[in-house]
Symmetry: C2
Subunit: 110 residues, 2 copies
């Protein structure tokens, strides 16, 4: 009776990677920083913080939204963006747990 090794990635690992990937661009970090520290958060203000075209900003916002880290709401004629608090806290917890793993151990190399 052989042990069958699951070669797929775990759900937690996929989820953490997803959050990390969404944060893996300086423009998106800047957006998140901005949204995390402001309450007024229209597209135009975000665009103004960044050195890139509005089409590109829109794309980055879409990726952050798809990853669940932010949410957008139409407030005609503007669009208001905010941090998605639930997922923000989820991400926070995922990262915290992840990094804490190492601290429980004595390292082999350093």
């Amino acid at each position: 009776m052989d042990v069958i090794k699951n070669k797929e990635y775990g759900l937690d690992q996929e989820q953490l990677a997803r959050f990390a990937k969404a944060m893996g661009h300086p423009a998106r970090i800047t957006i998140l920083n901005y949204l995390a520290s402001m309450d007024s958060c229209y597209f135009g203000e975000i665009h103004n913080e960044l050195p890139i075209a509005k089409a590109t900003v829109s794309q980055h916002l879409k990726e952050l939204k798809d990853a669940g880290l932010i949410q957008g709401e139409i407030e005609t004629p503007k669009v208001k963006y905010c941090i998605n608090r639930d997922n923000w806290e989820k991400a926070q917890s995922y990262f915290a747990t992840f990094f804490a793993l190492k601290n429980e151990k004595i390292s082999c190399c350093n």
Copy 2:
């Protein structure tokens, strides 16, 4: 006298994005998890944890090394990999600070 707006990204934002990007793939999260929880950490063992070819594993390890999250040491004929503790803690602190930003505020949307 005009205010000149710096359109570049801040160093902290670049650094955090760099860490996040390195973590932005389930295989690399799996590697980091493994290294964070084990002391014996040869290439072969890591490869064994993953559903991908060794060439690809080697590539992922290189990216993690380039991002500073791990380090490798030749122990002929094997290669021993470990978490880079200094940068690990640096990353931990960057992420913690980043996520804490939001918690200091009352959100506009949620």
